[in-house]
């Protein structure tokens, strides 16, 4: 994870296109300016960044599902629950499943676990739109970097 750059997903462990499910991993860095404020002397990954991590795993799932024909943008976070604390150095297991493939939108359910323990979960909704100019190539590059494209038998 590079928290300051909003690169939350390190690698895709498994993508099951037929089932509409993705499993990904992320390692919380040992140090980050984020921890200086959240909280001083008691570093915890902010819930908003855990939400972003679930959104990015979901986003990659939607990208793969749509074969990169459209870009998903987060538009709603429902039923978000943060069940435990997590700090520097933690290995996160992220899962997301496609709940509904709508016309112009998609809905996922995502969760993060740490050492087998439920950390957080939420229902996320995305607006799917044509790629804004110039975004397609960098998204494909990031997807390649985390193993999404390699793992999808393109």
């Amino acid at each position: 994870m590079r928290l300051e750059y909003f690169e939350m997903i390190d690698s895709v462990v498994r993508l099951d296109r037929a089932a509409g499910r993705i499993e990904a991993r992320a390692l919380v860095p040992d140090a980050s300016p984020v921890f200086e404020g959240h909280f001083p002397g008691h570093p915890l990954v902010p819930g908003v960044l855990l939400t972003e991590t679930m959104a990015q795993a979901s986003g990659y799932l939607v990208l793969a599902h749509l074969d990169f024909a459209q870009m998903p943008f987060l538009m709603a976070v429902d039923k978000a629950r943060f069940r435990s604390f997590v700090g520097p150095g933690a290995a996160l297991d992220i899962t997301a499943s496609l709940e509904h493939d709508g016309s112009g939108y998609a809905v996922t359910r995502a969760a993060i676990r740490h050492e087998g323990k439920a950390l957080c979960d939420a229902e996320l909704r995305f607006r799917t739109m044509p790629f804004p100019a110039g975004l397609d190539a960098p998204m494909r590059e990031r997807a390649r970097k985390i193993g999404l494209i390699d793992g999808t038998a393109e």
Partner: protein, 98 residues
């Protein structure tokens, strides 16, 4: 209760709950945008609830394109009685395929 009325009641309940609009303000003649003030984000919330409730997929992208290109007036999709007729059509189409 006719199919039409039943569909309208379900859709009106969904709109009331999803967009926080008083149920008695919602009539078959209501225009979702002009009369009820539903924005595009709220309309997608409603579409998701409708898709789930009726087991269909409202073709929002096609509808939007048709309206933007001037092929179909927005009322055809956004006035609730028309929206409900299209929902009934999609449900019937799905049943015919099953």
């Amino acid at each position: 209760m006719s199919n039409e009325t039943a569909t309208f009641d379900r859709v009106a309940d969904i709109i009331a709950e999803t967009a926080d609009i008083p149920r008695d303000k919602i009539t078959p003649e209501s225009h979702a945008i002009d009369d009820l003030g539903i924005d595009s984000l709220a309309f997608l919330d409603i579409a998701f609830a409708v898709d789930k409730a009726f087991g269909i997929k409202l073709p929002l992208e096609r509808w939007t394109q048709e309206v933007n290109e001037g092929k179909v007036p927005a009322e055809e999709y956004f006035v609730l009685k028309n929206l409900c007729a299209r929902i009934d059509g999609l449900v019937a189409e799905k049943a015919a395929k099953a």
